[in-house]
C-alpha cells in the first residue's frame, strides 16, 4: 500500500492487485484498512467495500474476460477529503464500452447483472475515463461525505 498524499485534509492510498477473482478478498481487505484509517463510519464502510469489490469484479469478469490467466495488475486508489471520497480503478484490459455498462432491470429476477446496480445504489457518481499510459481504463467513483 502506498500513501500518495497525506495532509490534514487530503488522504490517498493506492495498491495494485493481480487481475483475478482470488484477489477480490485482498481488494476488500485493503479497502477496509484504508476506510478504518480514514475514520469512515462502519456502516458506510461496508457499503463502500461492496461497491469497490463489485467494480474490481467487473474488471476481472469483463475487461479480462478472455484472459483468465493474465499476469496484469489492476490498481485501486482511495482518496478522501473532508467532503468527498474518490475511488479510482486502473486496468489494462479490454477498453470499456460505456454503452454496454448497464444493470439488468431490477424486477427481472435472474442471476447476474446486479454488480453495476449495487455500485449505482451506493455511490453518487460513476465515470469511465481513458486511462493515462500504461493504463487503458480508469473508472472513477465518488461519494459525498
Amino acid at each position: 500500500m502506498s500513501t500518495e498524499v497525506s495532509d490534514s485534509t487530503n488522504l490517498s492510498e493506492k495498491k495494485d492487485f493481480l487481475v483475478r477473482s482470488s484477489s477480490l478478498k485482498d481488494v476488500r481487505n485493503f479497502s477496509r484498512e484504508v476506510f478504518e484509517k480514514f475514520k469512515i463510519n462502519e456502516e458506510l464502510r461496508e457499503e463502500l467495500v461492496l461497491a469497490i469489490a463489485e467494480a474490481a469484479q467487473n474488471i476481472v469478469k469483463h475487461a479480462y474476460k478472455d484472459y483468465p490467466d493474465t499476469q496484469d495488475r489492476m490498481a485501486v486508489r482511495i482518496s478522501c477529503t473532508d467532503k468527498e471520497l474518490e475511488i479510482s480503478f486502473f486496468d489494462k484490459g479490454k477498453p470499456v464500452e460505456k454503452s454496454k455498462v448497464k444493470h439488468r432491470a431490477i424486477d427481472d429476477v435472474k442471476p447476474g447483472g446486479l454488480g453495476t446496480f449495487f455500485i449505482q445504489e451506493i455511490m453518487d457518481s460513476i465515470k469511465f475515463k481513458e486511462g493515462d499510459k500504461p493504463w487503458i481504463n480508469n473508472l472513477v467513483l465518488t461519494k459525498k461525505l
Binding site: 477480490l24 461496508e46 476481472v60 435472474k110 442471476p111 446496480f117 449495487f118
Partner: protein, 99 residues
C-alpha cells in the same frame, strides 16, 4: 468459505460461512445444487456469512429458481445483518424465502 451439511428427513441444511464472492460461488453451487437435484428441500443457513456480493446473490437466486423448477423448497435462514442488507438492496426480500 467452508460448509457443513446436516440431513433430517427430506430436508438438508447447508451451513455456509466466511465471505461469498465470485471466487467462492462455484464451491457454493457444488454443495447446494446436487441436493436440490436430488429432490431435497434445502435450508441455507447464512448466520456465519459476513459478506456476500452480487455473485453470491446470484447463487441464491439460481438456487431458489432451481428449487421451484424441481418442486422443492429453498429456505434462507438466519441471515446475518450485513448479508440481509445486500439482499434488500437487490430488492429480493419478498422473492426469496427468508426465515
Amino acid at each position: 468459505m467452508t460448509y457443513k451439511v446436516t440431513d433430517e428427513g427430506d430436508t438438508s441444511t447447508v451451513f455456509l460461512d466466511g465471505e461469498i464472492d465470485m471466487d467462492k460461488t462455484e464451491g457454493a453451487k457444488e454443495v447446494i445444487f446436487p441436493l436440490i437435484d436430488a429432490g431435497k428441500n434445502v435450508n441455507l443457513n447464512l448466520s456465519s456469512v459476513q459478506y456476500m456480493d452480487s455473485s453470491g446473490i446470484s447463487v441464491l437466486i439460481e438456487s431458489h429458481q432451481k428449487a421451484l423448477e424441481k418442486g422443492t423448497k429453498l429456505v434462507i435462514k438466519d441471515v446475518s445483518k450485513s448479508v440481509l442488507k445486500v439482499i434488500m438492496m437487490a430488492k429480493l426480500e419478498q422473492i426469496l424465502n427468508l426465515e
